[in-house]
């Protein structure tokens, strides 16, 4: 398709989109009004299910199937990155040599690491009560762990990061979300329906299925992000690629294999 045809197709599509988008926007309630039809229904449903954090109620109860899709996307993305970034046949691995570390940096990192991990666990654990939840807390946990790399050394990070176990945990947690949805089917309700006892409003155990799914998501995101970052770190720090000219073209066997 030449340039002219491409711009013609783009302009037609853009015009249709602009018209439809403008028409859709005129139907929206005005910004900052006092009536929120969707919001008040979501809040009502959340309070009915004893979930203090309405966003978590939407994510893990009212629209749990959406979240299941999102978690599967994350799992698939991590899996794809692991496959793409694995050590290839023509790549060498070199043990990194530690650089010099300022004692103050080390002290700050050693002090902050447990605090950060605790904050991450808190954000995951209180997902059904206060802002935050499995995804946010999981990312905090995973990035917090890398303080060990920022403040100390790659080898220290490798010691605090059981990669093989985390990969298995990631898969198990992703599966746990799917399996938790079956609880509804077993009791004769719908898939991912919140059928567990709802508990007392604003307690850690409230919300029925919400804290369980929330915890599964927290574990999945934390381990998934650690595994993902590990692949990038491996490539950036340890794995030595051959220079561009020497890299074999195509998918044939590399020179080293022969």
């Amino acid at each position: 398709m030449n340039r002219r045809a491409r711009s013609a197709v783009f302009l037609v599509a853009a015009a249709v989109f602009a018209a439809a988008f403008t028409a859709a926007c005129t139907g929206l309630p005005a910004f900052g009004t006092s009536t929120h039809p969707y919001g008040s229904r979501a809040v009502g449903a959340a309070i009915q299910r004893h979930t203090a954090n309405v966003v978590s109620a939407v994510n893990f109860d009212q629209r749990a199937i959406d979240t299941l899709g999102e978690e599967s996307i994350l799992f698939g993305a991590v899996l794809g990155a692991v496959v793409l970034l694995r050590q290839a046949r023509d790549e060498d691995r070199q043990a990194p040599v530690p650089g010099r570390i300022l004692p103050t940096t080390l002290l700050l990192g050693a002090g902050l690491l447990p605090v950060t991990l605790l904050v991450g666990v808190y954000i995951v654990g209180h997902g059904q009560l206060s802002p935050g939840g499995g995804f946010q807390g999981g990312v905090v946990l995973a990035t917090g762990l890398h303080l060990a790399y920022v403040a100390a050394d790659y080898r220290v990070l490798r010691r605090v990061r059981p990669l093989a176990a985390l990969g298995a945990v990631d898969a198990a947690a992703a599966g746990a979300f799917t399996a938790l949805g079956l609880a509804g089917l077993i009791t004769g309700a719908a898939y991912l329906q919140n059928v567990l006892p709802l508990g007392t409003f604003n307690q850690l155990t409230s919300g029925g299925l919400v804290p369980l799914i929330n915890a599964a998501v927290g574990v999945e995101v934390a381990s998934g992000v650690v595994v993902l970052l590990a692949q990038f770190l491996d490539q950036a720090v340890e794995i030595e690629s051959p220079p561009d000219g020497e890299r074999p073209q195509g998918t044939g066997p590399s020179p080293e294999a022969s």
Binding site: P96, P98, G133
Partner: protein, 106 residues
């Protein structure tokens, strides 16, 4: 009541201007390493905007992913590309820890 909502509106406008400025800066920055730093700043501005429109959950996600995670991935990628692209590890910007002499002419 109108005073409070007026204040919030002002905050929204200020953070929107911040986001626009940071996003423009991110587009205009050409060096990927600098761009990662600007992107981190953009993530922070976006988190402030989400906080101003009363979405603390989204603000937390934005802070964790946009300010810490994505720039880190970009930095690591840039480092890898620079290491394998040239014959010499000219890595003044990336994470440290492997100043070891790498095998030449493998």
């Amino acid at each position: 009541m109108s005073g409070i909502s007026g204040g919030v509106d002002a905050l929204v406008v200020v953070t929107l201007v911040l986001v626009t400025a940071a996003a423009t800066a991110a587009v205009l920055t050409r060096d990927p390493v600098r761009q990662a730093a600007v992107l981190s700043g953009l993530g922070l501005c976006l988190a402030l905007l989400f906080l101003a429109v009363q979405a603390p959950d989204v603000a937390l996600s934005q802070l964790a992913v946009g300010t810490a995670f994505t720039p880190l991935l970009i930095l690591l990628t840039v480092r890898k590309v620079r290491r394998s692209g040239r014959g010499d590890p000219a890595d003044e910007d990336g994470p440290r820890a492997d100043k070891a002499g790498r095998g030449e002419g493998r």
